[in-house]
Symmetry: C2
Subunit: 202 residues, 2 copies
Amino acid sequence: MKLYNAPAPNPRKVRIFLAEKGIEIPRVDLDLQAGEARTPEFLAKNSLGLTPVLELDDGTTLSESVAICRYLDELHPDPPLFGTTPLERAQVAMWNRRVELELMDTVGHIAQHTFEFFATRRIQVPAFAEAEREMTARKLAWLDGEFADGRPFAAGDTFTMADITGMCAAMVIGLLEIPVSAELKHVNGWFDRLRARPSWDA
Amino acid sequence: MKLYNAPAPNPRKVRIFLAEKGIEIPRVDLDLQAGEARTPEFLAKNSLGLTPVLELDDGTTLSESVAICRYLDELHPDPPLFGTTPLERAQVAMWNRRVELELMDTVGHIAQHTFEFFATRRIQVPAFAEAEREMTARKLAWLDGEFADGRPFAAGDTFTMADITGMCAAMVIGLLEIPVSAELKHVNGWFDRLRARPSWDA
């Protein structure tokens, strides 16, 4: 098994996941700026030219960070990061999607619509990036209300995949220097708990 | 168990899923135009004010269409719509995400940034809708290349959740009258197969 990796939020999700599980997988580090995810060889592994990609020993390739993590979670069930009962698994899927849609996608759009790096990949609309910057404040406020019940992690008492997606959102928020109001005590507490994990530096 | 439902693509995913499984769940139909997803009672079930919501007999609520479908898939495993082995499950998750990100989100943005209905929910940027309309053609072309191996469904030989997401994307493409070039034989073939399923009208 081999992980095609790069210094970007989605491969980072898989690196954090591996660190939380205590698994090591050989990595191939790609230089995205040098176009190493756009070579014919790599496009044969993921036609979207995106990392991460997990290559199995028979050559089968998997892309999409959460799909890769789901696969690894089945091979290495402890500690469980996708829940242990049908209801827990649905709640983790729900919260991963909420953190993804409400937080990660929103801040991701800001980068995708302003960074030169993404110019060949999409039609950039800077006004959309500006709108998403404003939306981030609304979404952080919504999330603060959700955490007001005092639970430590996105899906409840246990750290899960939804928190890993939250770690990547927090990293992008830091990178883009998006202010997180000190009044949002619950969200700030969550981000602090996430930053304190050894896997933060994965 | 009770399903809070509305005439919109995400609840439709769950309705198609139920039709494919042959399951019936009592429904509460909400009138979104009349603000029935924005009442305090409904916001207590989903603070995002979005449908679908599955309410369990003990009052627990689940939102996010794919999370709801995952839960129902565990309770009613036949026919399997999320794969049956770790690799198949990862491939379905990967393809559901690809159809979601590359197709459904792209066409969804067009509606969200132009329809009056969404004006209170987000900061609309019509130029972004226009960009996403152009991106749809690129993404359909990418998808056509993916289907060039002749497989009938998104994740392989079997109809899965990824195809249900595709059905909703195809519906939005029809609604927005986005042209799908006749040259894209594989994508058109896929859409035809999806439209021919009895669950299309769910």
